[in-house]
């Protein structure tokens, strides 16, 4: 329709010709993708397709695997993620990560969130740190449930609450980007809905990349979807197009439940 103006979003991250090797085995082949700012991009595909490997490229998590070698370029603004000059610790403050299983530190709720700002020296005073913790817990939609028990052990929280605590912990250090690797796979449907609602809210402030095995989840939370197969980016486009009229037959077969 004429009245709808298509406003192209700014590009937050540009990945170009990314190849990943585990020893001799190539796990990703020449993956190039532009990630839009303040949007949710879902990576989908069968197990072993390379989607998690690709996600881990964005904050150099593959560095911790000795046999892993990453080639190509991932530019976030003027920062080359793959450059040896880029400090992975500082990079991970800008690009936070939430994992499959909630992994809170065996510390209090407060300490879990305060840990990042403290080691990065982001707070000048106790009250400033308190404010950061409160702000992060509010953004993660957890404050109302834990405000009166910040000194309790984080491990006493429910699975869904623990996962939101991990999100609060990730955003406490002020990242631009959040990587989520199957963040709801260990949660029940209610906790999953809460996290998905949270993702929609967080998208206003952060660029979110999410790996999910749930195609319904990818369809619900993301604006862009990338389909991977055998280490290759097969199709990348608007989520509504990928799930209604995919261009590629492999994508169609996967989203229709015809290949595993």
């Amino acid at each position: 329709m004429d009245t709808i103006v298509d406003i192209a979003k700014a590009i937050k991250i540009q990945a170009k010709d990314v190849n990943v090797f585990y020893g001799e085995k190539q796990a990703l082949n020449d993956v190039s993708i532009d990630i839009e700012d303040r949007s949710v991009t879902a990576f989908i595909g069968p197990s072993g397709c390379g989607k998690s490997t690709f996600l881990r490229c964005f904050n150099r998590m593959n560095d911790v695997i000795p046999s892993c070698r990453v080639e190509g370029s991932i530019m976030m603004g003027d920062v080359e993620v793959n450059s040896p000059q880029t400090d992975p610790v500082l990079l991970r403050a800008r690009i936070g990560m939430v994992f499959q299983k909630p992994n809170p530190f065996p510390k209090t709720i407060f300490e879990n969130v305060a840990y990042g700002p403290r080691i990065h020296g982001l707070a000048q005073s106790k009250s400033e740190l308190d404010d950061m913790v409160e702000d992060s817990l509010k953004k993660a939609g957890l404050w109302g449930e834990v405000a009166d028990r910040l000194a309790d052990q984080a491990t006493g929280l429910s699975g869904g609450q623990q996962q939101r605590l991990c999100i609060a912990r990730a955003i406490a250090v002020g990242p631009d980007v959040l990587l989520m690797d199957e963040p709801c796979s260990a949660l029940d449907p209610i906790a999953t809905s809460v996290i998905e609602e949270l993702i929609s809210e967080l998208q206003q402030r952060f660029t979110i990349l999410i790996v999910t095995h749930s195609m319904q989840q990818a369809a619900r939370v993301s604006q862009k979807t990338a389909y991977f197969h055998l280490g290759t980016l097969v199709e990348y486009g608007d989520t509504k197009d990928v799930f209604t009229l995919p261009k590629n037959e492999q994508t169609e077969a996967y989203i229709s439940g015809k290949i595993g």
Partner: protein
């Protein structure tokens, strides 16, 4: 049907059930239409009664298709072509059921015309109209069966033939009514019958559009040719 199977064989079975039921409904609608047109041409009361009674089967089958489609959506979460497949089944079933209603209405009106006992009923164009419409419905269902978007487009473009015949017949009946006041009652029913047949032609194009959407993922992108001028005819 697509050759590539789902991992879940039950999903394939569900889609097959939906497909078979829709084909069956298409066959029934064609039979009803044929019965109504033949009944009109031959003034055969037994044929007309069969059409009137036969409509309930279409209603029941449409309800079954609706129920199955809702079940597939709720349980299988179909996507892409599978989703279009289910949505198209729902829409085409509604169209076929409506065609059945029009066939029944033609049969009812023909029976009224028969009791009036008018002779010299103007009927050349309406017979041809009925024939073309039946061909369109058959071809539309065949294009569905074969997932043939080109064939569907051919049906879609053919509707203009029915429109032309409808306009001509409309004028013919009006002329007959103005010449012979005894023809007014019969003529009014004939106008409705002709309109019913013309609407069935429109519905055939509706099926064709759905087939195009199923195969291509989009409705036909050209304007459908139309030539039904009866709404502008004021007299003879």
């Amino acid at each position: 049907m697509d050759t590539q199977k789902h991992i879940s064989s039950a999903f394939d079975q569900d889609l097959t059930i939906l497909n078979d039921a829709l084909q069956q409904l298409g066959d029934l609608a064609c039979q009803q239409l044929e019965g109504a047109i033949e009944g009109l041409a031959m003034q055969n009361e037994a044929n007309l009664d069969k059409v009137i009674k036969g409509d309930a089967a279409l209603d029941a089958l449409e309800a079954e298709i609706n129920e199955k489609a809702i079940e597939v959506i709720a349980i299988r979460s179909p996507r892409a072509k599978d989703l279009r497949y289910v949505l198209v089944a729902l829409k085409v079933a509604t169209i076929l059921e409506r065609m059945g209603d029009y066939a029944r209405n033609i049969a009812n009106r023909t029976k009224v015309i028969m009791t009036a006992g008018n002779e010299n009923i103007p009927g050349v164009n309406i017979g041809r109209m009925g024939q073309v419409t039946q061909e369109m419905v058959r071809d539309a269902m065949l294009s569905y069966q074969n997932r043939d978007a080109e064939m569907a487009l051919a049906v879609w473009r053919r509707d203009i033939e029915v429109d032309h015949m409808h306009t001509a017949f409309h004028k013919e009946v009006l002329a007959s009514m103005s010449r012979n006041p005894n023809m007014v009652g019969t003529g009014a029913h004939l106008l409705f019958i002709a309109k019913n047949i013309e609407r069935i032609g429109d519905y055939a194009t509706g099926i064709a559009e759905q087939v195009h959407f199923l195969v291509e993922g989009a409705m036909p992108d050209e304007d459908r040719p139309k030539a039904d001028k009866t709404s502008k005819v004021v007299g003879t």
